[in-house]
Structures are given as C-alpha cells and as structure tokens.
Symmetry: C2
Subunit: 102 residues, 2 copies
C-alpha cells in the first residue's frame, strides 16, 4: 500500500444514520472539502495529499475541524481563506500552521 | 491536543452532498462502526482508540475499508467477525493483523 504523504480528514458532520447535520456542516465544511480538492488539483498534489470527509470528531465548538495524519495535526475553525496557507506552509513547506492548531 | 493512540477511520460511503451510498455502505459498514464502538466501550479504550466514519477512500473493491493512524495501516474487506481480532492483536497486542492488511 502506497501511503499518502498527508492524509487530510475534514468533518462534514456525516452520521452513520445518513444524516448530515452538526456544527462543522453548518459552518460550511462541505465547501471547505471542495476548496481542499481544488487546491490539490491546482498544485498537482493528488496521491501526495489525500482527502476524506468524516463524521464528528467530538470537538464541535472548534469546528470546522481538519485533522492531518500521519503527523496527527489538528486544525480548528478552518475557513476557506486558510486553505492556501495550509498548503503553502504545511503540505508544501513541511511546517504545520501553528496559529490554526488545537 | 492529546493524541489518541489509535485513530480508526471506517468508510461508510458518506458523500459531501449528504448521500450515503457506495460499496462499503452496502456491505454493512455502518454496523461495522457500531461493532467497533461497542468493542471500545467493552474494553474501556475510549480516549486510546478513537473512531470516525468517513466518505470514500477510492478503493471500493476492497471495502469495507478501515484505516488506522498514525501508523497508516489499511485494512480491507473487514467483517464484523474480524473486529475482536483487530482489538486483540492490534490495539491491545500492538501488531497489525497481517492477513487483513492491504
């Protein structure tokens, strides 16, 4: 199995009963997923940066929540305008964005 | 941020448009999530083993797919009867279950 360099998990509040409601979803995290996808495409990073949407991480008040493995970096209150910086500094620069970290 | 020892991601085929359909879901992966949750509770491992359901990992023919970080262990075709073994050997024994790995 080829491991992605960065595996990004974004809460879209999807529940196992099929409902999609919750704080991250209300804060527009599905658009955030699309912004990450677009950035992966624009920077030609597919394979290196892999993306999944998820159910709740249980820290809703910090949503939208984005978790990056294998490092285990947890980002809070991620907005669309933060996405470029996460790619510049973290995925391309190798240093997590400190002021967004939980 | 306190990191879980094992962060388990299980595909339940949830899409960002709210649909929940796809191979892992059809194969009963929502029941698989519940089996993992029950095992965490029974073994008193909450905090140590954290669980999230996800959207598609893109390798549907190997579903249900379960991914464990920070190690980056990918399990394929996981059935409910495999769950006890994953806890015994991997989460409590420290050794991933080789014959289930992708």
């Amino acid at each position: 199995m080829v491991q992605p360099k960065y595996h990004v998990f974004i809460c879209t509040s999807c529940r196992i009963n099929g409902q999609q409601k919750g704080y991250c979803f209300q804060q527009g995290s599905t658009s955030l997923v699309q912004a990450f996808m677009q950035e992966i495409e624009d920077r030609d990073l597919s394979g290196e940066v892999v993306l999944n949407n998820t159910g709740c991480f249980g820290i809703c008040e910090k949503g939208p929540v984005v978790v990056v493995y294998p490092e285990g970096v947890w980002y809070k209150n991620v907005a669309q305008e933060d996405v470029g910086r996460i790619f510049d500094e973290h995925f391309e620069g190798g240093k997590p964005v400190k002021d967004l970290m939980i």
